[in-house]
């Protein structure tokens, strides 16, 4: 199993834009079977997503 993280900077003035960026990244990274297994919603500036795959 391989585990890795990806970071999405937040746009504090546009929550929708941040959410869209996070979802786009999840869709892209899970196309070959990797799974989203965790996340950190950092209050200051970013969302860190953790993926796992074989």
């Amino acid at each position: 199993m391989s585990r890795y993280t990806k970071t999405v900077p937040k746009n504090p003035a546009d929550i929708n834009a941040t959410l869209t960026a996070v979802l786009d990244l999840i869709i892209f990274q899970t196309k070959d079977g990797d799974k989203l297994v965790g996340y950190q919603n950092q209050s200051d500036a970013a969302v860190v997503l953790t993926f796992e795959g074989d």
């Binding site: 890795y4 746009n11 504090p12 003035a13 834009a17 960026a21 892209f28 993926f51 795959g53």
Partner: protein
Amino acid sequence: MFKQITVATLVMLTVAWICSGCASAGKQVQRAAKDWCMTIRGSQVIPVYPLIEDIQPGDVFLVQVPIDQQQQLYKDKGFLALDNLIARINPSGYDDFYSHSFLNSEATNLLPRDWIRPNGIGLYSGTNGTNTRAWQTAPRAAFPSYSFTVQNGSGLSLAVPVSGVPVGLSLLASDAASGTIQIEDARTLGVDIISLYDQLKSWAATNTVFLQNFGASTEHKKTNYLRVVTRVYATGKMMVSLKDASNRSGGLDVGVPKPVNLLTPELPAAATNTPESALKNYTNAWNVISDSVKGASALTNAAGQVLPGGSLRLAAASARTVSLDETFDPPLIFGYLGFDCAINADGSLAPPNPTQAVLDAQVVNDFSQFKTNFTNETNSFDLIEKAYLAAKPQRRAQIRDQALQLGLIEQPVEDARFIKTLRRTVDATNPVIARKLKTLAEFSTATP
């Protein structure tokens, strides 16, 4: 006949080339606007362009440009268009804001009217306002004077949209210029964000139906904003001093090109000697042309015959100074501060963010960069994936090898795992990855 047409064409083309500085007037005007706005922005004030009297705290604008595009527009144009004024709130917080400092306790204080138009009247009659006390009781502000010098033909780095200077400095398209400008008699008027935000929420509650039209929906990713002005800056006087020397030369070659030297203009030292400067520049230009003619006749073949062909050159030179003290009576607003509120889907408003902070925030820049990188990287990845899956085993091995050399994968991977491994390297926070993926995409799609 043919010769006449050729000469006529040469002359027309040459004149057109010389006048090409005038052909880009639209761009020069835009440049004038941007130069001006960048100057105001340097003072941490969001520029108003053009300068206007009728903007005040409480003005509510509808902003329909995404925040990252706003940043790009702000960067490209230097200012944000304020064209969708949807409401004018009368701030109720002036009294609390100024009562213990600038308000006269023995007079009526209906702001902003009593500061902009004391006694309620004031007409602009073409040269000076009739109400000489306009803005006089408002708090003062000061901006540093600045000067500039340029010495090339590509245009100036600064321009001033002041009516006393009929065209912005950029419009002069000068080869050499210097000058100074000073914003004087600056005044300011403002109100606190909290009281204005409370009033904005009350206004929004009574206009929910209208705001719902602009709320962020799930189908449309676009977010709209309300921008509310909290402070304005006005100027009553501008002092401008310009020295300009310009020349133009141009030409066209037919046959063997002949040598032509360009000109270096000389700035007038003062207003009294501009004719001398113009004459000197013109004389220099004439000498340069004479040298060109001599150089042309020197180009001969082995038999001493002048080589066929011709070169046409025209030159023009001028010098001038402009010095003025321009008074704005009544004063004009040249900058503002404010806050932005995103409009939610139900027509309610998100918390306020200072406009300046939104436009300059590093986190917003990071996000904007992330979006750009993500689009570029996924586009490159899609190209690589498509090319890789369509390639024969030998070509696939070359692509994998190239990815290894670029450092996109750490170690050799088998054919079936390459795309999955490469997908994990996509990192939109890292512009280096974006460049490497682009290189690999170009390699993958190239014919082997």
